[in-house]
Symmetry: C2
Subunit: 706 residues, 2 copies
């Protein structure tokens, strides 16, 4: 503002791109360390141009190949962006394979190779993924373990760390939080807001301190500094055009990606026939062959963005020459931008179908900057006498708008404002992003949603069932396992062995499926171990005993019977005396229990899966003395409701959310989304008639969608 030359742009000191992006090894033509000169001499010495070209191709292919081998052979979970996988987790489908420590190692290595190879890819997705894995690994360490057991708290913790991941990628804590909210969630609880910001702030303070030496400021390489901008001119229209153009290009990019992905899927056999790892080698080779001849295509994305944002009218002309010198006409920056957009858009769309770790933000950022610069330079040509047209400012708007359009995040505007450290273009940037997002939303889904869909990950908001014709009755599981109020240990064990759900329904009896409530797996396991402890009796030991020698087994069983009917003789009598009263409450006389089991058997026919445990028992009854006494012991009847009244650790949720058979699936999806949980119980006049699992809904929803 105190600059004497008004209407021109003041430029921050140029930071060598190797500081900004250490991993972009080969093509950074501003970095000229000795090592690089040995491997790949300067392109300007004409005599060994061919050698350079070849080594460039070899290096690109080799690095991309390494990355692909890591992913394909060692850890497929480390492939791709990672954002879709986290989005699926945050929508309630926990998938521990995505956030394991080993994925972290391969993701870091794979990203090093793939990002360094020169493929047209970014790194924001992998960074977020790495943060999430780190968070999850920390949660498994002892002092934080109690957080991990609470599903909601674990999710919040992961979400906060995702914010940190973006903050680290871009050095923008505010944009980071907002970006991670937008790309991973469908709705956001305001109470988590503070936590995410706290995490991001700690991260930002850390980065600031780590990189505080003046010559090595990661965050300063994008800095711009514009004079004030007058919006009440034709420029407002130009910004609107930039926004709309970026929205269209973003949609085109997503369309291209989808088409390439589909084509590759249909021709997978053909691609494999040519060579193993064929696609990676071909794409890497093509990338190298195309980008080497034109210097500006070889630039890493950070350098390209730096030139677009800062080089202009006698400032940083060295950088700008890289772009214009390769062109047939003199100073034809317009043509260079056009070529850059065309080549990079196609290469990026192809690269993100490869089995390597990738992001898409930074390539799109560079392409968007070129789009903006193109519009800006055109404006300068059309209005040569207008004073305050900054093509570099247009580049800033374009970069934000294209990223916003592809990822459908308004926070791209915040990220770029933090990145450029300059608020002058606040309104044009916001305008561009909002328009680009709007245009994009009209045309197709965001790129992350496309990744998610192609990976086949479960995600609730995708299941869009327009008609109300599909109701609960159509999607519910009619064959389900349950625990009756009065049940046996064997039956509980059988249910636990066959059901994966966390909440298991308790019904009145097999005749009367009146839904009493739900009980958690953990509590049922505790119920079993409680009775095992009580009788020093394991469900599995009798069968093992039978294998070892039947004589021993009988003795064991007898001692158990003894324990039950006459506690005083037992070694554990002190413990058992205290608990004896409630045992007698919880256990019902045997004669009654057998009668009930017989009657149960008749109604069991309707429940194909549920009946196996009872048949086991009856098989046992028919096969001699040992088995008979064994099964009788297993048939100790436990009344769960009585147990709950007497034992504080037995918790029954007596008010599970139950729905009627006629509830439309659309409404069920809404309930899953908003209330969380994994299972809904379908009742008819209080009787349990079906169970709806979130995963089932997603599968049926996908079917319905296609």
């Amino acid at each position: 503002m105190s600059s004497p030359s008004s209407n021109t742009i003041k430029y921050s000191k140029m930071i060598s791109s190797k500081h900004g992006y250490k991993k972009s090894r080969v093509k950074s033509n501003t970095s000229d360390s000795d090592l690089l000169n040995i491997v790949m001499p300067k392109a300007d010495t004409a005599d060994n141009y061919f050698f350079q070209y070849l080594s460039f191709i070899v290096w690109t292919v080799a690095l991309a190949f390494c990355s692909s081998v890591i992913i394909k052979k060692l850890c497929y979970a480390a492939a791709g962006s990672g954002i879709p996988d986290l989005k699926s987790i945050f929508s309630g489908f926990w998938n521990s394979s995505v956030v394991q420590p080993r994925v972290l190692i391969w993701k870091v290595l794979g990203l090093l190779f793939s990002y360094g190879s020169g493929l047209s890819i970014g790194k924001e997705g992998p960074y977020i993924h790495i943060s999430a894995i780190l968070a999850n690994t920390l949660l498994n360490i002892k002092p934080f373990k109690n957080i991990a057991t609470n599903e909601t708290q674990r999710s919040q913790m992961l979400a906060s760390c995702c914010a940190l991941g973006v903050a680290a990628t871009f050095g923008s804590p505010i944009g980071g939080v907002l970006f991670s909210i937008e790309v991973t969630g469908t709705y956001y609880l305001i109470q988590n807001y503070w936590r995410a910001f706290f995490t991001a702030t700690v991260g930002a303070v850390g980065i600031k301190i780590l990189l505080s030496t003046p010559s090595n400021d990661l965050l300063e390489s994008y800095r711009t500094s514009f004079e004030s901008l007058n919006l009440a001119t034709v420029q407002l229209l130009a910004f609107i055009i930039t926004g709309i153009l970026c929205g269209l290009l973003a949609s085109l990019f997503i369309y291209m990606y989808s088409k390439i992905y589909t084509w590759k899927k249909h021709n997978q056999d053909f691609i494999k026939k040519i060579t193993p790892y064929g696609e990676v080698i071909i794409v890497a080779a093509v990338t190298a062959v195309i980008t080497f001849p034109l210097k500006f295509l070889r630039l890493d994305h950070a350098s390209a963005v730096h030139t677009m944002f800062t080089a202009h009218d006698g400032v940083n002309t060295e950088e700008l020459k890289v772009w214009t010198d390769s062109m047939p006409f003199n100073n034809s920056i317009l043509l260079a931008c056009f070529l850059y957009i065309l080549v990079k858009l196609v290469l990026t769309a192809v690269s993100v179908t490869l089995p390597v770790p990738y992001g898409i933000y930074i390539p799109l950022f560079a392409i968007g900057a070129a789009v903006g610069r193109f519009v800006g330079e055109s404006m300068k040509l059309i209005f040569p006498h207008m004073k305050d047209i900054y093509p570099t400012g247009y580049a800033v708007v374009g970069a934000a708008a294209l990223c916003g359009g592809a990822t459908r995040t308004v926070s791209s505007a915040v990220i770029i404002l933090e990145l450029t450290n300059d608020m002058t273009f606040l309104v044009p940037v916001l305008l561009g992003v909002v328009l680009s997002c709007g245009i994009g939303n009209l045309l197709n889904h965001s790129i992350y949603d496309c990744f998610l869909r192609n990976k086949g990950l479960p995600y609730l908001p995708f299941v869009k069932i327009k008609s109300d014709s599909l109701v609960a009755k159509d999607v519910m599981k009619r064959e389900f396992r349950y625990v009756t109020r009065k049940t046996t240990l064997l039956r509980i064990q059988s249910v636990l062995d066959n059901v994966l759900d966390y909440a298991i329904p308790i019904v009145e009896s097999d005749d009367n499926l009146f839904l009493i409530g739900t009980i958690s797996r953990t509590t049922l396991e505790e119920v079993i171990s409680y009775h095992e402890r009580l009788h020093s009796y394991s469900l599995k030991s009798p069968i093992e005993g039978e294998e070892d020698g039947s004589g021993n087994t009988i003795i064991t069983i007898n001692s158990q019977n003894h324990n039950y009917y006459d506690n005083n003789d037992n070694d554990n009598s002190l413990l058992l005396q205290e608990e004896s009263s409630q045992i007698e409450m919880n256990l019902i006389p045997k004669s009654e229990s057998i009668d009930q089991l017989d009657s149960n058997q008749q109604t069991q026919s309707q429940l194909q899966n549920g009946s196996t445990d009872h048949q086991d028992i009856n098989n046992n009854n028919n096969s001699g003395d040992i088995r008979s006494s064994l099964s009788l012991n297993n048939e100790i009847i436990i009344d769960i409701v009585h147990m709950e009244l007497q034992n504080p650790w037995v918790v029954i949720d007596t008010s599970p959310i139950h729905i009627v058979e006629s509830m439309p699936v659309r409404k069920i999806i809404f309930m899953f989304m908003m209330l969380g949980g994994n299972v809904l119980f379908v009742t008819n006049k209080g009787q349990l008639v079906g169970i709806i699992n979130k995963t089932d809904i997603v599968q049926k929803g996908y079917l319905h969608h296609k």
Copy 2:
């Protein structure tokens, strides 16, 4: 960054505060228009100091009094901030009296007087309120009316306009959206994000264009421009201290406000005894008496903030002198800041208990700036040889942190960054705000939540029931109105007259309260008008006819009978012939209907409210021929389920969310919050046993809370 003098601060050109805050009329000592000189000559001419002092007091009291009269006599809904009222609306409790156009007029006028009087208040709340009223008024105009009928869309529209309100107050579109999300919501759907940003962007573009003349830039008065900041020093600790200090002060402010409010409530009679409008007159007089002698206390908040943010070390010393000259010691800015914090904090806490329109953001902003400046100046005293200590930067951090701490919004950081147009202090600002919010959350509720609580507005997340002992059974309404599947027009009318809920339950019959579904008021009204049209028969006309002359009434009834049993003779025969088949389906023979009504009567005793309509009918039956035939006609039995099958416009929601009697109220509140809606149906084995209304829950929750 191209400034030759490094480590000093470059200052933007000073904008006269009258441009920034046109409404702050009296005390702006930088504005010296002729009019002001006549009313209140410069304070510096010593001979008429007393006259100035007096006129200052008179003006302050007079303007505050006017504002208070407007609110108390003309429109009480215009009082206060407006944010709590909107928060209540967004939480699902629609209150049309808050968003009526007349409130707009009185709010604007009241704010003009109260803000102009010199009371220590802000304007962000009223601006948001005004935006919401404008949005609501627009929604009642024809082209937008279909949006207004959809509750969700209406809420989204209002929420977007609230974002615009903040954007207009601070000139910060991004901060505006985030602030309005944080202060009005409990959770936020990401899909609305874009809409809110679009609205705010349009607003920001509009402001930019309207205020684009260089000399009149509203948004530039707060601009700062710092050199780069090194965080890896003792300054990091100082910023943390600023954040914590602001958090404590914010909590103290909220505590003071609550105490003053409670004291005033208990001593209302005493205050009224002294004088009508006593509190306003006293507070205004005290404000004037205290603030006049010390010039810097007289400053409007915008000027104070401007000085704190920019005046330093030989730059803008004129402004700084206003602060230091009044002090006994020379240049004791520390003492001035301390006095400013003390006086303003108390005055603001008192002012926001008055019945005038007020905001709290801008006074807190100024106080926070003083807090930050205090810490900054202290740092400079403690470390005199450290080079990059900017007390002005501390002022920025303090302003954001105090506002963040009182409103519990992280977006205060974004607002201040947009306001100062400078990202250099991004990390310290974020750090201060996050710490201040965290400290605040540990100590008490946000100031807006206190407003909400004191106004007694319904708001769900406040109802915090820790124990699970309170269940659905305890809070449900056991006496409720319903429509039976087979019902009469008179009964439907009676239910409509007595029930305000939107969704009315349909049960199987009076004996069997099996919940079939719910039907909307609108549909029931249409059902009545459909049958009225069908029979050219109005429910109300027989009674009116009876009053006019019984002879006429009989004729009317006869012609109705005629219509019903023999459609061909009717004038509307063409219309009716088409519909005759379904009439016969929908209407059940009379004999059956009367039997059913008799049996119904027996079970009605359990429903005190529900029985009135049937007693009406029976009274009619016993009182002569005319009434008898009248009541028989009213007893045309309609089967609503049949009607739904044959008429696409009759929509029954066959899957209302029903819950069991044992569901904890905590869970019910969660369902209301996440799923929306106003009513939940409590069933037992499919039988409707009670209805839970959101409003009832809030009332019982409040009771439970106290």
